[in-house]
């Protein structure tokens, strides 16, 4: 199976701060890949570089063979990015928001209708989609945004902290959507999270990132075994020498 993402020696410099330091990893097609690490480790910067939002200072990223710098326009057609704690337009209804976003990825009315129908199903928000998004709870908003990210069946979905800050039920819904929808439609997912348990549950493979570098990479079970740990949290602590 070919590679969905291939990051090679990525460096991102913000003034004196080196946010990404020769970061390299790859994701296979159809995989759910988790990027985990503490605050300031470089997770969001990595996701932004992959999503064509930021230019790497050096190094490169290829998405299904397309370069994120030189072929950014083509990359944007096959990816979908969900920023951490993103909102929706408060004065648009859920339906209007989905329609607005779907128009960028669809060619005709039939395709548009089908895409929105898909989003309605994924979100599970039913009649509440007729209401303005400013009336939504945080969990409802996140479900709407996850639906937006997946409705176009992107080849690569980049999800930054998809379930962070949600209550148990909404977090459960979001995780189930990602798990089942992705497997059904063969979407490749790159997600970041602080929540190691969530990552362990969702991801086929994970990379632990610290100070802009990948410190360890592998399948969750293999990593736990290798570091003789109960969970990924413990693995991470051992790898960075905290435990």
């Amino acid at each position: 199976m070919g590679l969905a993402v291939e990051a090679k020696a990525l460096v991102k410099q913000f003034g004196n701060i080196r946010a990404l330091d020769e970061l390299s990893f790859h994701i296979k097609q159809g995989e759910i890949f988790g990027l985990i690490g503490p605050n300031g480790a470089g997770k969001t910067t990595t996701l932004r570089a992959i999503s064509t939002l930021m230019l790497p200072t050096s190094g490169s990223v290829e998405i299904f063979g397309l370069d994120t710098v030189n072929q950014a326009g083509e990359v944007r057609k096959i990816i979908s990015y969900l920023p951490e704690e993103a909102g929706a337009y408060p004065n648009l209804s859920g339906n209007e928001y989905l329609e607005f976003m779907a128009k960028f990825n669809t060619e005709n009315q039939n395709e548009l209708r089908e895409t929105i129908k898909e989003a309605v199903k994924i979100s599970g928000l039913g009649e509440r989609l007729k209401d303005k998004t400013k009336t939504y709870s945080k969990g409802m908003k996140r479900r709407l945004l996850v639906a937006r990210a997946l409705m176009t069946r992107p080849k690569l979905a980049v999800l930054d902290e998809p379930a962070s800050g949600l209550d148990v039920l909404h977090a459960y819904h979001v995780r189930e959507i990602i798990k089942t929808y992705v497997k059904q439609h063969g979407v490749t997912v790159l997600l970041s999270s602080h929540n190691m348990l969530e990552v362990e549950y969702l991801c086929d493979r994970v990379a632990l990132i610290n100070k802009g570098k990948i410190v360890v990479e592998g399948k969750p079970d293999e990593l736990k075994k290798k570091y003789q740990s109960q969970n990924l949290e413990e693995v991470f602590a051992k790898v960075i020498g905290y435990a």
Binding site: F14, G15, N16, I17, A19, N39, G40, A41, G42, K43, T44, T45, R48, S51, T52, L53, M54, L55, G73, R76, K77, I79, S80, Y81, L82, P83, E84, E85, A86, G87, A88, Y89, P90, M101, F104, N105, L145, R148
Partner: protein, 430 residues
């Protein structure tokens, strides 16, 4: 006292006073703006008085007898007088003698002046009075532009006190675009047009600041809600995103520009009241209401100025992280809107020193106000020049905005007021 009140109060004060945006917006700006306004107003009054004193008063003596000579001698004591004999007021205007004598007004002493004076003073017939006809040129200037004409009335009052009470009366006429308008007092006309001098700049100030807030909020909201991040990763041209934002505010601003014009037209059209003169003043009849071409040019001028302000607001807001920050940043642009408006309310741009004039012409937001005065006098060249200048400025601003949208700067650019090179936000490092 409430428990904990002082602790909270001190903390709030510390936070407020340490916020440089608040410090600059609420303390530094007023400390700068009001002295500037004071200087402008002081200069306006001073220059108007100086001009009135320096100006030559042209006297047309069509009487030629003793009393008219006495009147001129009395005038000469306080004013710089040039005397012409046996010429009609219309000839003064058509031969352009006012320009020749560097004057903005002239006085005609009619043929019966001495005869009436003699009858009143020597004959004791107090019902007979003498009349002098005053002709002032309408210049469409600033708020203090009628100081010159009012100083002549003060002189006549002085002459009456010296000779006989109420013996001399003045009849006021105005020269507008080379035509004598009998019975139209220049001071009253200036008073009527004062509403024009004040209303349009104030309306424009409000419209510009409001539109800039809308545009800045629109971009900042996208950044705050992170919808912009999402939008920048979908397959759409980034220039289209910028144009979509600017165009929507242009539509709002366009509606606002039309509303201003409709209101402005109504205001000018309704200024036909007599107020203090026996003869009603009708601005339409006097040709002091802009032509359809004038209105069209004013509309274009307002529109391009709004466009440049909106583009500037979009750029500025790109440097903020949230709505509050964007509104504060846009606030820093207000002085370049307010100061020209204030200056042009009080002063006629044609009377200003070259350096001040150049600064005012360089500020794009001066041009609609300059245009509003120029179209009344039919000076369309000045308006067209202003439109071209503001349009060029807008193109430059739009180009910068498009470059900003094309790069990651739209997400990462931040204006820092604290230590340079201070640590980046956690978000950037993450």
């Amino acid at each position: 006292m409430l428990k904990g009140f002082t602790t909270i109060l001190v903390k709030e004060l510390k936070e407020l006073m340490r916020d440089p945006k608040i410090l600059i917006g609420m303390i530094v700006l007023p400390l700068v703006i009001f002295p500037v306004m004071g200087l402008v107003m002081g200069y306006a009054v001073e220059s108007a008085q100086e001009q009135a004193q320096k100006a030559t008063l042209l006297v047309i003596n069509n009487d030629g007898e003793d009393w008219s000579q006495s009147f001129i001698i009395y005038l000469n004591r306080t004013m710089n007088v040039a005397v012409l004999n046996d010429i009609t007021p219309q000839e003064v205007v058509t031969q352009n003698l006012l320009t020749e004598y560097n004057s903005t007004q002239f006085v005609e002493i009619p043929p019966d002046f001495s005869q009436n004076m003699t009858q009143h003073i020597d004959g004791g017939d107090w019902n007979v009075t003498a009349m002098v006809n005053v002709y002032g040129v309408f210049q469409g200037g600033g708020i203090f532009s009628n100081i010159g004409s009012s100083s002549f009335n003060a002189f006549v009052n002085g002459f009456n006190r010296a000779v006989a009470p109420d013996v001399v009366y003045t009849s006021q006429s105005t020269i507008i675009k080379g035509e004598i308008q009998k019975g139209v007092d220049p001071a009253t006309l200036s008073g009527l047009l004062l509403s024009q001098s004040i209303a349009l700049p104030i309306t424009l100030m409000l419209m510009l600041t409001y539109s800039m807030q809308i545009a800045a909020t629109s971009v900042a909201m996208e950044k705050e809600e992170k919808t912009l991040e999402t939008l920048l990763t979908v397959p759409v041209d980034r220039f289209a995103i910028l144009m979509g934002k600017v165009s929507s505010t242009i539509i709002v601003a366009g509606v606002a520009a039309v509303t201003v014009l409709v209101g402005y037209n109504y205001m000018l059209g309704s200024i036909t009241l007599g107020i203090t003169t026996a003869t009603p003043i009708d601005l339409v009849a006097l040709g002091l209401v802009p032509s359809p071409l004038g209105y069209a040019l004013l509309g274009i001028s307002i529109f391009v100025t709004l466009l440049s302000a909106l583009a500037l607001a979009v750029i500025i807001s790109a440097f903020s992280e949230d709505v509050r920050g964007a509104q504060a940043l846009v606030g820093y642009l207000y002085p370049i809107i307010f100061v020209p408006a204030m200056v042009l309310i009080y002063l006629d741009i044609n009377t200003l020193p070259l350096a001040v004039k150049a600064i005012l012409y360089a500020i794009p937001y001066s041009h609609p106000i300059i245009a509003s005065k120029a179209i009344v006098l039919g000076d369309y060249t000045k308006v067209i020049f202003g439109i071209i200048y503001v349009a060029a400025f807008t193109v430059v601003i739009m180009y910068i905005a498009s470059r900003l949208f094309a790069t990651e700067k739209i997400l990462t650019a931040k204006l820092k007021f604290k230590r340079r090179g201070s640590k980046k936000t956690a978000e950037q490092q993450e």
